[in-house]
Assembly symmetry: C2
Homo-oligomer: 289 residues x 2
């Protein structure tokens, strides 16, 4: 399926939003890209890099005549933006987002974009890194990556297909699921690991001999803790937005860790090796897939 | 300091032992390298790859006339090997190892190599990967890596200097510390992260929807869990060998995780962000160092 967007309005021209613009331009799937953001310097960098064609004077002018509005800002900023754009959205304008949690975005859309729900399609591109800002954007960020769309009950099928086509034009593999299922899955495979990594690094950083400990940390530690270099504000918001699912995952992890601790305390070599082997087998199979 | 070893006997010619041989050969710091191991196929591969010059007929013949004996086998195999070589060790032969835990190796040396303690120098090269076998060995594995020596009370100063020179010839940075301090440090920065990663992957692998969960896991998860692809036997042995220190680290981590969980349960955005930020700051500073 091919798509063409005459005007795309991107709110938040960082790694995520900027890479959408670059990918669509590379695919010749977009006409004009206008950018909105809190940092003037970042928007000017995006303009210079050819990510956007124009800096919008306001949220209102950004969305006027836009085929698609992409909200690529932290979830904490979305309510205000939705309120700002709601009166200015055209009948045909699609609204989508790139937030890491979806039940909260769906609720915000229901609250602030009530007149436009058939055109609203919440989405989550599974890509990202510790880097941020327009300078980090790349045309191939979404190549072969997963994008999950979580339609509202009111989302129009044609709107879904257009947003799907937008992400496919970026090279992504698009799937659909209910927002509650999305949030449960990402609590497990993304939000929990982030919280575990932050917890370990914070625990070490607070020790008197932190410098010595870090000086002997090697490649295994480096990879395990890479995600602890992620944005504290963003992950605070994600954790709070997906609080119930994440609390459930933490509780289950605490139970699993306690089992592991008990096996070690009891010098139960068989149980330890069995758990390590199940993990190793699953991890090796996954990385091969 | 330069060093020359006329005959080096390596027990366990895998990634760790094989890389020592290759590094010393590249530095022209060794004459003959003889290999001993459980797998004939691996030894023949090592011979073919030029890692070793000869496969020893037995542990006894391997150590005869050797300047240095390197025990690069899992700690679980060391007692038997020490018993096998003890009667055949020369007056001048140095004995060192590459085990990840050091109090247990020291205890084994005290028990099985009592007549040779001045020549015994336990060591731990901080390098490794999920790969194993002679085919994984590389001459540059130890370049700029840390090697920690944990002398016995009886270790001779000259023996220490020779083992230090051996590792420096491999390109490593060598430090010394008591074995108890070593084991505490590595419980924190290596053994605990391994156990945490194994625990997460095992928890996910046992779920009914494991395939779905893994299919949405992305690069953060991949890096966080990379160490869960490590050898189950080796990590079972390390966990048990360093049981007390590791149990203490697990307990401290459980307390830290419970604090994090409580902050999330209480929707304490300030506490969450503060912890995430301390971790991020420490992690960014460390990776820059």
């Amino acid at each position: 399926m091919t798509t063409h967007i005459n005007k795309l309005a991107i709110f938040g021209v960082g790694l995520i939003g900027g890479s959408v613009a670059l990918a669509l331009k590379q695919a010749a799937a977009v006409g004009e890209v206008v950018g909105v953001g809190r940092s003037r310097a970042n928007l000017e960098a995006a303009l210079k890099l050819g990510i956007i064609d124009r800096i919008a004077a306001s949220p209102a002018t950004a969305v006027q005549g836009a085929d698609v509005v992409l909200l690529a800002v932290p979830v904490g900023q979305m309510a205000v933006l939705m309120q700002a754009i709601a009166p200015h959205l055209g009948e045909e304008t699609l609204i989508t987002d790139a937030g890491s949690t979806k039940q909260d975005v769906a609720a915000l859309m229901q609250q602030h974009l009530a007149a436009h729900l058939p055109n609203c399609v919440p989405g989550h591109p599974i890509a990202g890194a510790e880097t941020c800002g327009a300078g980090a954007a790349r045309a191939d960020l979404y190549q072969d990556r997963n994008v999950v769309l979580t339609p509202l009950p009111q989302s129009d099928q044609a709107a879904m297909e257009k947003v799907r086509a937008l992400w496919q034009a970026c090279g992504a593999k698009v799937s659909e699921m209910p927002s509650i299922e999305h949030d449960a899955i990402f609590a497990t495979v993304s939000h929990l690991p982030h919280l575990l990594a932050y917890t370990l690094v914070d625990m070490i950083a607070r020790r008197d001999n932190a410098d010595t400990l870090f000086s002997f940390a090697a490649s295994g530690f480096r990879d395990f803790t890479r995600i602890a270099a992620s944005s504290p504000e963003m992950w605070r918001d994600i954790a709070l937005a997906n609080r119930e699912a994440l609390l459930s995952e933490i509780a289950q992890y605490q139970a699993s860790l306690e089992q592991m601790r008990a096996a070690l305390a009891a010098e139960d070599a068989t149980a330890l090796e069995a758990a390590f082997r199940r993990a190793q087998t699953a991890r090796v199979r996954w990385s091969g897939g």
